[in-house]
């Protein structure tokens, strides 16, 4: 908190000073209808568009294919903090996004699959049962941008593999969106209803949304930024997310935008809290653009690394504001042991 204060000169609310949110049901409904559902709709639409594009354009350097993949990936980053309910059913989210790949399983598995050239894996049913390391947006990045894998083996096989991946992304995103629309949105909106086994109280519903903000902040601070930062002595630029396609910083910005939207809604009734979040996320966005370093390569530059560290520090401060002040505002402060167990 001190850092954000120093960076942005923000004032902090004393703990507990925020009026507890008065209408939890309305809060849940607004986040569901204005944040979650439109974003999942965009995810399914861009997933379908990717599959359609891949039918006509399957070459690694085809601009139409790359553009469709980029839009679909953007939509995923915009929901990647919403890790509950339909995205978790049958591990769908992992099938869309196997990341981080800390042991390099994706390139290894793709290489083996392409060199083997077994066409039975290319049908929708055959592909769906393959390792999640070869499924989703991150695996597809290798086929489009990795100099080795994008030219490996038979071109025809790679083309069909792109189509299988795109088809799988379309199917999974469609299933997630369908579940949200058919039932899960209602389950969430009806948190606290007598027959609601998932969210037994309105507080549990609010808590789910509150946790999503924390998840998103953690992923962006710890995984998108801190992993490539490594340590001063040992920076790890190769760990930057989606660096093959030059999207690492783009993901930080997209995630900040999505989290800003969610934090704003969760702060309803406390303009000062909403302003704190907005100012913090705005800083993250602007400072990320100002890096002028799409793949965070400057983690290895002792002079410029501080700029990335500062963004990370502001995200950590936002995490603290979320945990303490927003938690108190929403009345969902988790217990010492329940919050972050081990």
């Amino acid at each position: 908190m001190k850092r954000l204060l120093a960076v942005l000169c923000l004032g902090l609310l004393p703990i507990g000073a925020g009026a507890e949110v008065s209408d939890r049901g309305a809060l849940i409904a607004s986040v569901t209808d204005q944040h979650i559902l439109p974003r999942y709709a965009a995810l399914a639409e861009t997933g379908a568009a990717l599959a359609e594009t891949a039918e006509a354009h399957c070459g690694a350097d085809d601009p139409a294919l790359r553009a469709a993949w980029g839009l679909a990936f953007d939509a995923w980053i915009g929901v990647s903090h919403l890790r509950f309910g339909p995205s978790e059913t049958d591990n769908r989210a992992f099938a869309l996004a196997f990341w981080p790949d800390s042991r390099g399983k994706t390139p290894k598995a793709l290489r083996a699959m392409i060199l083997k050239g077994d066409e039975s894996v290319l049908t929708p049913e055959g592909f769906a049962i393959q390792s999640i390391a070869v499924q989703g947006y991150y695996a597809m990045e290798y086929l489009l941008y990795d100099p080795e894998i994008a030219t490996l083996g038979s071109e025809a096989f790679r083309c069909d593999l792109v189509r299988a991946m795109a088809g799988q992304i379309a199917a999974v995103t469609r299933a997630i969106e369908a579940d949200w629309r058919a039932s899960y949105a209602e389950t969430l909106r009806r948190a606290g209803a007598e027959d609601n086994a998932v969210y037994r109280t309105e507080e549990e519903g609010v808590q789910e949304l509150f946790k999503a903000l924390g998840t998103g902040l953690q992923v962006t601070a710890d995984m998108r930024l801190q992993r490539p930062l490594g340590s001063f002595e040992r920076p790890r630029p190769n760990r930057a997310e989606a660096r093959l396609s030059g999207r690492s910083v783009r993901h930080v910005i997209l995630s900040a935008e999505a989290l800003d939207e969610l934090a704003g809604m969760l702060s309803a009734g406390s303009p000062s809290l909403a302003a704190q979040f907005h100012e913090g996320f705005d800083y993250v966005r602007a400072a990320s653009v100002a890096l002028d370093d799409p793949v965070l390569a400057t983690v290895s530059d002792p002079a410029k690394r501080l700029n990335i560290e500062t963004i990370q520090a502001v995200l950590d401060d936002l995490r603290e504001i979320a945990a303490v002040e927003l938690g108190s505002h929403l009345g969902v402060v988790a217990g010492f042991n329940a919050l972050d167990g081990d």
């Binding site: 509950f84 309910g85 978790e88 059913t89 049958d90 591990n91 992992f94 196997f98 981080p100 800390s102 042991r103 399983k105 999640i132 390391a133 086994a197 998932v198 953690q218 992923v219 601070a221 710890d222 995984m223 801190q226 992993r227 930062l229 490594g230 340590s231 790890r236 760990r239 217990g335 010492f336 042991n337 329940a338 972050d340 167990g341 081990d342």
Partner: protein, 358 residues
């Protein structure tokens, strides 16, 4: 402000090992890490009521402790991904030694002693390799680190020694983390937890794995019974609505047995078990879920939940002759005997995940 270095120098008292045995100890019944009202972290020797008999400052959040088998001495560990462990004289609360995880390793927060108490085993992360290791420390040489061996998996968390023998049992939680990414979990879709039985030299005796559909069920906490029965609690990393059973028991060379809860008993745990403790007679096991705010007592013979009690943010469980003693993150200590929960003390303190009976 006390600097870390100054703190350590001040905390290290003279003397190397405790010569007092547990029998001579008197009032200390349990050890637990905690956060005090100022937000500072401590390792506390508790009376049964939770009253602090001694209180040792820690430089960061603690997790669990390992009690020496005979001397009134215990090792308190940092919470992952911490680097420190403190050897404490449980009579005076003096810090006898400070252990530091070697370069490229951090502690996970648990440890166990050999039968003679001369060797301490600690669960650690070789984070560059993403593999679990067991650190080996020589108490007679002032807790010098003398080696390490593979834990048999990724993310080893709690370690115990089977009573009456040197065999170690390790809960390899399966989750890869790296201090560069804080506590973020890096390999959930690929995780493969197990229960590994190891010789004190690190030879694999047996590795118990659950069916593939349970591979996202992190085996994290264990307790052992005199006959070698190992009770284990799990933390489900997938969709909460699809969580499988969260408790089981296993003995070397035998088939694993899983709890058979009712849907309500299962849902009450909220996909998470935080602590596992045998009753003193060994017939029952208590498991806690701070996320569900519940403790369930399991009849091990029938693998059924015999009774349960609600307690907010409960995690630590100790056993004594009467039953169980519970602690919570909001400072409560309670006795759980039969069906009755009786609060015995409440302080402005946050009890951390584990109680260790001494």
């Amino acid at each position: 402000m006390v600097t870390r270095r100054g703190f350590i120098a001040g905390a290290l008292a003279a003397g190397s090992v405790s010569t007092v045995t547990w029998a001579g100890l008197g009032d200390v019944h349990f050890l637990s890490a905690a956060q005090d009202r100022e937000g500072a972290y401590r390792l506390i020797g508790m009376a049964e009521t939770g009253a602090a008999i001694f209180s040792v400052p820690l430089p960061a959040r603690g997790h669990a402790a390992a009690a020496h088998p005979s001397a009134a001495e215990a090792v308190g560990f940092a919470r992952r991904p911490g680097n420190f462990a403190f050897v404490v004289d449980c009579l005076s609360g003096a810090v006898l030694h400070r252990l530091e995880a070697p370069e490229g390793r951090h502690f996970y927060g648990h440890g166990a002693f050999s039968m003679d108490g001369n060797t301490l085993f600690t669960t650690e992360n070789d984070f560059e390799a993403g593999q679990g290791v067991i650190g080996v420390w020589d108490r007679s040489a002032g807790y010098r680190r003398i080696g390490e061996f593979a834990s048999g998996g990724v993310g080893p968390h709690q370690i115990c020694r089977l009573p009456g023998r040197e065999t170690l049992v390790v809960a390899n939680g399966g989750i890869e983390t790296h201090p560069d990414a804080g506590r973020a979990k890096l390999n959930i879709p690929m995780m493969e937890p197990n229960l590994a039985y190891l010789s004190p030299e690190g030879a694999e005796i047996e590795v118990m794995e659950l069916p593939r559909e349970m591979h996202m069920n992190s085996i994290r906490h264990i307790a052992v019974r005199d006959d070698g029965m190992v009770a284990f609690g799990m933390q489900w990393q997938g969709d909460r609505a699809q969580a499988p059973v969260l408790f089981g028991a296993h003995r070397l060379g035998e088939e694993v047995r899983l709890l058979q809860p009712t849907p309500e008993q299962h849902a009450a745990l909220n996909a998470y078990v935080g602590s596992v403790t045998f009753s003193q007679d060994g017939r029952e096991v208590a498991i806690s879920s701070p996320r569900g705010g519940v403790v369930q007592v399991i009849d091990l013979e029938g693998m059924r939940v015999a009774r349960s009690v609600a307690m907010a943010d409960v995690c630590g469980i100790g056993a004594n002759a009467a039953g169980f003693v519970l602690t919570s993150g909001d400072g409560r200590v309670a006795r759980y005997v039969g069906d009755r929960l009786e609060e015995t003390g409440r302080q402005d303190i946050r009890w951390d995940n584990h109680m260790v009976a001494v």
